[in-house]
Structures are given as C-alpha cells and as structure tokens.
Amino acid sequence: MALHVTGLSVGYGRRPIIEGLDIKEISGGSVTALIGPNAAGKTTLLRALAGLVPAKGSIRLDDVELASLSVAGHARHVTYMPQALPQRVALTVLEATLSALMSGEEGSKSPAQARLRALNALERLDISDLAMRGLDELSGGQRQLASLAQSIVREPSVLLLDEPTSALDIHHQLRVMQLVEELARERGIIVIIVLHDIAQAARYAQRIIVLEQGAIAADGSPAQAITPATLARVYKVEARVEACSRGFLQVIVDRAL
C-alpha cells in the first residue's frame, strides 16, 4: 500500500495555505509523523488527504485517485480523527463508536457484527469499562481515546490522526503510540499522525515530515529530519539532538531563539 501526493494545493476562500505540495511515496506498514509549529498547515494537509476540504492536485492510493472520489468513496479508504473533540453530546462511548460503522455505506451490514467490532476497538484501547459511559461525563483524555476508537473501528487503509495524544497522560500517550505502530504493522496500513512531542515522533515513527508554512521543511528518517539546523529554522529554538543510551534520538532544547 502506498500513498502518492503530487501538486497538492489547498486554501480557505482565496487564501492559499498549501501550494503545489509533493510528498514522496508514503508506504504502508509504518508510522509517519507530521510535525511543525502552530499554523504550519498540518490539520489542513490531513483534512485535504481525507477529502474534507477542496484541494487541487493528485492524491493517489495505489491505483485509486482519491481526489476524484465522493465523500463516501473517500471514507472507504481514509479515516480522519479531528483535533477538536465534540462538546456536550448525549451519547455513550459505545453508541458513538457504533455510529462510525452504522452511519456510512456499510450501515446495512449486520448490527451484531458492528457491536463486536466496536467492542473490540474499545478493548484494544483499554477503555472497555467506558463503553456505557456518556461522552459528556468523560475527562478530556478519555474522550480523546473514545474519538480514537471511532477511527480505528473503521479499519481504514489510511489512518489520519490529528494530535490524538494532546490530552493524554504519559502512560496513555505511549500506549496510543504503541497501538498505532502495531496497527500499522499488523494491517500494513498507512498511518499519518500529527504530534507535538518531537522525541515521541522520533521514538515511534519510522518517518518524520516537518511542515512549515504549508511547505515541507524536512522529510526522512528521524535522524535525517530532526537536526539542530531544522529545529532552529522551523521552531526557532536552539536545541541539541543526541542519541540516548538505547540509541533513540532525544531532543534537548536549550533556549528560544
């Protein structure tokens, strides 16, 4: 499975955010992290890949041109987990997860099977105990896990996650990263995940794309993409990038430039 993006242009109204973006083949089976400062266009890029915002250019998944598909066609291949969580919704975690399966094209499939799939997704995220709880009575982190369940339950070929760990404690952050890595490996799917924690991106992603003002500032393995020069240019910080005793990259930020 491979995703090719060429000449992608996205904007809101007349304001261009991303212009003529090319991304080298993103292959399945591994995790790609998308990082970059605020307003770099990370959310815009993911929404464009998911067909949620009008875009020009080509987004090709193997032989399928996603850009020419309808909303329902897109949903067959791609699932996007939004950064913002819904407020004040009187649904239980299980009902919300079920709606991910029952509302789309495949809604006619067996409800019993949908219930099992939904419960499997909750179990996978270790939130089976929240199944009957209302979304509006959960903590921010729990709601984020519920939202993640709504995405993985659809078993997409391309899983797009927009800051899925921003409200989680460190234990759950790592659990989610491990799960995402497992999913990518098991199912051979493409996972693109927006992260703020650079060290976590370096630890769990096989590839890192650094976005700055709608353009790619660096792209490659963690060691290639995360360098003091890139961090200085993109994040305006003076930082050291060092390998820890286990060989993973660590970023030590000394000061803002």
Binding site: G13, R47, A50, G51, L52, S70, V71, A72, H74, A75, R76, V78, T79, Y80, M81, P82, A84, P86, R88, V89, A90, L91, T92, L94, E95, A96, S99, A100, M102, S103, G104, E105, G107, R115, L116, L119, N120, L122, E123, S128, A131, M132, G134, E137, S147, Q150, S151, R154
Partner: protein, 351 residues
C-alpha cells in the same frame, strides 16, 4: 466466571440500555394515549372515559349527540393536538441536530414569524389565490411563507463557506424581519382584522377539521420514515461535521433533505394552528434527557414527548378557565415548563 463469547458483559449491558430506551419510548407513547383520551373526554360537556373509548372503537354504541361530539368536534381537535405536537417536535429535533444548536427550533429560526407574515397578508391585506376555497386561503399563505423561509436558510446553507453559526444568525435575522413586517401590517390593519390576526398568532386548535388533519397526517407519514432512516447519520453528525464526513456521510445532502422535511412539517403545522412556539424547542430536550441522542430513540421520543405535551396543553386550555377555551399556544408553555424544569432538576440530583 468465564465469558463464553467475547464481550458478553458489555453486550448484555448494551442490550439492557437499549431495552430501557425502548421502554421509555413505549412509556411516552402510553402517556400520549392517556392524554389523548382525556383530551377527547374534556370539554363543555364532560364525557366519561369509558364512553370515549367505546365511542371510538364502536361509534354505533353511542347515542346521537355523544357520537357527534366525539367524532365531529373532540376527535379532530384532539388528534390535531397530537399530530401538531409530534410534527413540531420532530422538526425541532432535526433542526437542533443538523444546525448543531440546542436553541434551534421552527420558532426561534423564523419559520413561525414568516408564517405569521403570510397570515397577515391574507387576513389584513386580503391577499388571495384564485380557484381556492376561502377556508384554505390563510393556511396556504402561511405555509408558503413558512416553507419559503426554510428554503432561504437552505439556499444559504448551500453557499460556499457558510457554517452552521451563520445559518442560525440568519434565522434570527428572519425572526426580526418578519416580526417587523407583521407589526407594520398590524399598524395599518382595521380593528377587526387586527383582532383576527392576534387570535391567529396565539395558536389555536379550534381551526382543526378532518380535512386539515388528513393533510398534516399525510405530511407526517411521508416525512417521518425518511427522518428515521437518517437516524444513524444524524447520530454520527453529533460527533462533528468532519467526523461525520469522514464516516462517509454527505453532510450537505443530509442537511438539505432534513431542512426540506422541517419546512414541510413546520410550515403545515403553523398554517393550520398558528404559532405554537414552545414544543419544537423543548420536546427534543426532554427526549435527550430521557433517551440520549441515539436518533433511533431520540427522534421517536421527541415526537411522543411533543405529542403528549400538546395533548395535555389542550386539556388544560379547556379546563384552566371554566367555560372558556383558551388558545392552546398560550397554555403549552405553562404546561411544558414545569415538566421540563422537573426533569432538569431530577437529572441534576442523579449526576
């Protein structure tokens, strides 16, 4: 203890939840039926409930006057109350979901105001359509404007870059515009026409007839299956627009057809009984508290809650002031608010 099938505990818990919700919906249905029977029994001459039930099941068992009272007077009124309550509640529930706004209802977004303007045109300015019986003139004008106001919302929704907030603001702007226009017409109206208009806008079931009942029933029968068919999609929309589209739902289409149903339902109701503002707003909230927002239960519960409140309001409108029939639009809020407040407070305690 070992589970034979995976997730047996969660599946059982979910089955219990579904059963509870079905029971609540059935309970609301029973409440509606009881209210309906009381509504038929209540009036200048009180009929025993037993006679009412017998007279409906077997009209021949009643003597002439009682049969006429039940079949020509009470039944059309009472059924109109139930149908109008259900239709306005369904319209309100759909609007609240597709506009993602708990304050949305046919009344708060200009539908009723537009209908009042249409009614004012017909009543005061004598506007009429050729080839139409005079009796249908006013309802038709009210309907055209109510329908038109939702179509306006619709056009706006179709334009690029309009979010739901814009739609809600536009609806509120419609309220003020049409209210100003109605005031303008009232200002130039004759004393008699003014009185008629004021009475019309209070909302009254006294204009019910089997003919109008048939029209409203037809509208409800045609629209509600589509509403129920869209219930999973509306449930998903509660999780956010991006989320719903990412599930494969064409939110634009969902919104278009939903607003179309709303305009038919609300337009027909307002045309026949005038403005009844409270039901479309509050019945969905009552349903939400009782069964949550899985729309498979939420939509029917809204309809039944709306029908029950409207029916109880009809009983109250006949009994509050002895000997007088109050316009039901005045009473709905008086009946509904205590009910609503009680629910909110009992829920507070449980949390």
């Amino acid at each position: 203890m070992t589970d034979i099938s995976p997730h047996a505990t969660e599946l059982a818990a979910y089955a219990r939840l579904v059963r509870r919700r079905v029971l609540i919906v059935v309970g609301l249905g029973a409440l509606m039926l009881v209210a309906l029977l009381f509504d038929i029994a209540t009036g200048p001459s009180r009929l025993p409930l037993g006679d009412v039930i017998a007279g409906i099941l077997d009209p021949a068992s009643l003597d002439g006057p009682a049969r006429v009272i039940i079949w020509q007077v009470r039944l059309p009124y009472a059924l109109m109350a139930v149908l109008v309550g259900a239709a306005l509640a369904l319209a309100g529930a759909e609007m609240q979901t597709i506009l993602n706004n708990p304050l949305a209802s046919p009344f708060t977004l200009g539908v009723s105001s537009a209908a009042s303007f249409g009614a004012a045109l017909a009543l005061v300015m004598g506007a009429s359509l050729p080839l139409l019986p005079a009796e249908w003139n006013l309802p038709l004008f009210a309907f055209i404007f109510a329908f038109g106001s939702v179509l306006l919302l619709q056009v706006l929704a179709g334009m690029r870059g309009t979010g739901v907030e814009t739609l809600v603001l536009f609806g509120i702007a419609l309220v003020f515009t049409f209210n100003a226009l109605v005031a303008l017409i009232q200002f130039v109206a004759s004393q008699e026409a003014l009185q008629q208009l004021v009475f019309w806008s209070m909302g009254s079931l006294s204009r019910a007839s089997w003919g109008k009942l048939g029209v409203l029933a037809l509208v409800a029968l045609v629209t509600s299956p589509y509403s129920l068919a869209a219930s999973w999609r509306m449930t998903a929309l509660r999780l956010g627009e991006d989320r719903a589209r990412s599930f494969g739902i064409s939110v634009k289409r969902l919104r278009f057809f939903s607003l179309l149903r709303v305009s038919l339902l609300a337009g027909t109701c307002v045309a026949f009984v005038g403005t009844i503002g409270f039901i479309g707003l509050v019945a969905p909230h009552i349903a939400r508290i009782l069964v949550g927002e899985d729309h498979r239960f939420f939509l029917p519960a809204s309809m039944l809650a709306g029908a029950s409140i409207m029916s109880l309001a009809s009983v109250a409108s006949k009994t509050l002031v002895p000997g007088a029939l109050l316009p039901v639009g005045i009473v709905t809020a008086l009946i509904g608010v205590p009910f609503f407040m009680a629910l909110i407070f009992t829920r507070r305690e449980r949390l």
